[in-house]
């Protein structure tokens, strides 16, 4: 497969090997030490690290600056961009800025509604949507032009990803929606946290039936649960999250001080099972504020050491 960018993630995926990505949330401060530390903790066990963009609409150090910090540590960050806070002028400007620092990957997202965050009275932007952001990034790269039509002298060269939630409603358009993202130009997909493996496999089968798995790399999201409380919270309070009852029962069935370990085991078992599923190209391990566990998860899932690419 032709390599289009300098992305390490792209090179690993196109070499046919399983990729592992992870995710870090920047601090709510101007001190970058935390993000650099998180990067150092996991950099030998993952290929790329996503930096979230004011996730859950809570104001944080910006994704672009955090990506630059990781890049300077020798990592290959994935710039997450939501369309909630910036119009097409600012988004394209930030894509150029990211490319100028050698950031090679971006993930196009809608963004959680601002009512969830620390500034619920804020205006939202939504000038373009996540589908159109994918198109924009590809247009800038492939056509070498801004949306407005002007030529870009040195176009940004991004490996463009998108998110997918196999569990959101309505289920009947879950696969058509993925097809739409592929048509828009998405090259890799990181999914919502997968707990309901049967339903995920059903989604993957429908994708393979349409041959879509040959057009995109799909990385199911894996988030270890630290406690039965977290499992119940995810099930109850997080929109679009599908946590089966049997997982809650399994977490409840172990003593409190062993629940974190059980959560890790559940995550590892999920990865071992999904590795064998047609169309799965790797994993996106989101250990939320629990990054120190990523190396153990990756090792136990049999995905360590990570492949080396030029």
């Amino acid at each position: 497969m032709e390599i289009k960018t300098n992305s390490k993630l792209e090179k690993i995926l196109k070499s046919g090997q399983m990729a592992v990505t992870s995710e870090c949330g920047p601090p709510r401060s101007s001190d970058p030490a935390g993000i650099i530390e998180k990067g150092e903790l996991i950099k030998n066990h993952v290929d790329s690290i996503n930096i979230t963009d004011n996730q859950t609409s809570v104001t944080r150090l910006c994704s672009l600056a955090a990506c630059v910090h990781l890049k300077q540590q020798g990592l290959d960050p994935v710039l997450q961009m939501v369309v909630r806070d910036r119009n097409r002028i600012a988004l394209q400007s930030d894509i150029l800025g990211a490319a100028s620092f050698g950031i090679n990957n971006m993930l196009c997202l809608s963004g959680d509604h601002q009512s969830f965050g620390d500034h619920p009275s804020a205006q939202n932007v939504f000038d373009i949507d996540s589908m159109q952001l994918i198109q924009t990034a590809r247009y800038m790269r492939d056509e070498g032009k801004f949306l407005g039509g002007d030529k870009i002298k040195v176009p940004p060269n991004m490996f463009v990803g998108a998110a997918a939630n196999p569990f959101a409603d309505p289920f009947k358009i879950r696969v058509p929606r993925l097809a739409k993202k592929i048509a828009a130009g998405a090259e890799f997909i990181q999914t919502q946290c997968v707990y309901n493996l049967d339903k995920f496999e059903e989604w993957m089968k429908l994708i393979c039936d349409r041959g879509l798995h040959e057009k995109i790399f799909i990385l199911p999201g894996i988030t270890p649960m630290r406690s039965v409380g977290m499992a119940k919270y995810l099930r109850r309070a997080v929109p679009g999250m599908d946590v089966p009852e049997e997982l809650i029962d399994r977490m409840s069935g172990v003593p409190k001080d062993k629940q974190a370990e059980e959560g890790i085991t559940i995550a590892v078992e999920a990865m071992q099972r999904l590795k064998e599923v047609q169309g799965v190209s790797g994993f996106h391990v989101m250990a939320i504020e629990w990054e120190e566990k990523v190396p153990e998860i990756v090792e136990r899932a049999g995905l360590y050491p990570r492949p080396q690419v030029d």
Binding site: R84, R88, S110, G111, D112, H113, S115, F116, N124, F126, D127, I128, D129, S130, M131, Q132, Q135, T136, L147, A163, A164, N165, A168, D169, P170, K172, I173, P176, R177, A179, K180, A183, A184, Q192, P239, G240
Partner: protein, 220 residues
């Protein structure tokens, strides 16, 4: 129609209490349908303000009146004298009516009694829901008659987002996911395959983003 909601009474009182004379003035079209700004509501609000003035020992003469529409010149003819004689007007019209009056009576304070809330329909008596944001470039023809600009809280043209659950929006279990409605309608119309057509970026210059809009008919 335009839907409005009366401001909290204390906020209204704070705006008008320093006047000696006040005309509480209804608008008997859109905001009368939602029982907030019609001539009847003007009468009730005037009574409440008189009671408050008595309670607080404030000397203020309060009259009330109204016309059919505060957004067109001809309707004002019947009320010109009473408005001319008023020191200030508390208008129960939408923001359009308040501004129209303020531009007509340049040296008279015109206060808004309502918050203009949205362009909506009457779902049932006393229940109004937003349906249009006047974006200036209607897409209802491709979205099965459901407006994503108004009814999707992220105004996605290629939705739904990942927050759609059981047909409801991520921000509230009481709010329908607009894209669930779009998909259901497309399916009912036998056009579900149209879902995969990507809607291109929107030209927002026809929206408020392009500045205040106007429309002039030639030959009038």
């Amino acid at each position: 129609m335009i839907v409005g909601e009366q401001k909290p009474f204390d906020e209204i009182w704070e705006m008008v209490k320093d006047h000696k004379q006040l005309n509480v003035f209804g608008c008997n079209t859109c905001v009368a349908v939602c029982h907030q700004g019609g001539n009847k509501e003007a009468e009730i609000l005037a009574s409440l303000l008189r009671m408050r003035a008595t309670q607080d020992g404030v000397d203020i003469e309060i009259i009330n009146g109204g016309i059919e529409r505060q957004c067109e010149h001809p309707f004002f003819e019947s009320a010109e004298e009473i408005i001319d004689k008023s020191e200030a007007v508390l208008s129960l019209a939408c923001g359009i009516g308040v501004q129209f009056m303020a531009s007509k009576y340049k040296d008279k304070p015109i206060y808004p009694a309502l918050n203009t809330t949205f362009l909506g329909d009457v779902q049932e008596d006393g229940f109004f829901t937003e349906k249009c944001q006047a974006c200036g470039d209607c897409v209802l023809g491709i979205t099965g008659g459901v407006c994503p600009v108004t009814r999707c809280c992220k105004r996605l043209f290629n939705g739904p987002c990942g927050g759609s659950t059981n047909g409801k929006c991520e921000i509230s279990k009481d709010l329908d996911c607009a894209w669930q409605l779009v998909v259901d309608r497309l399916e009912a119309l036998g056009k579900l395959e149209d879902y995969e057509k990507i809607t291109p970026v929107k030209d927002w210059s026809k929206d408020r983003a392009g500045g205040p809009r106007s429309f002039k008919l030639e030959g009038f």
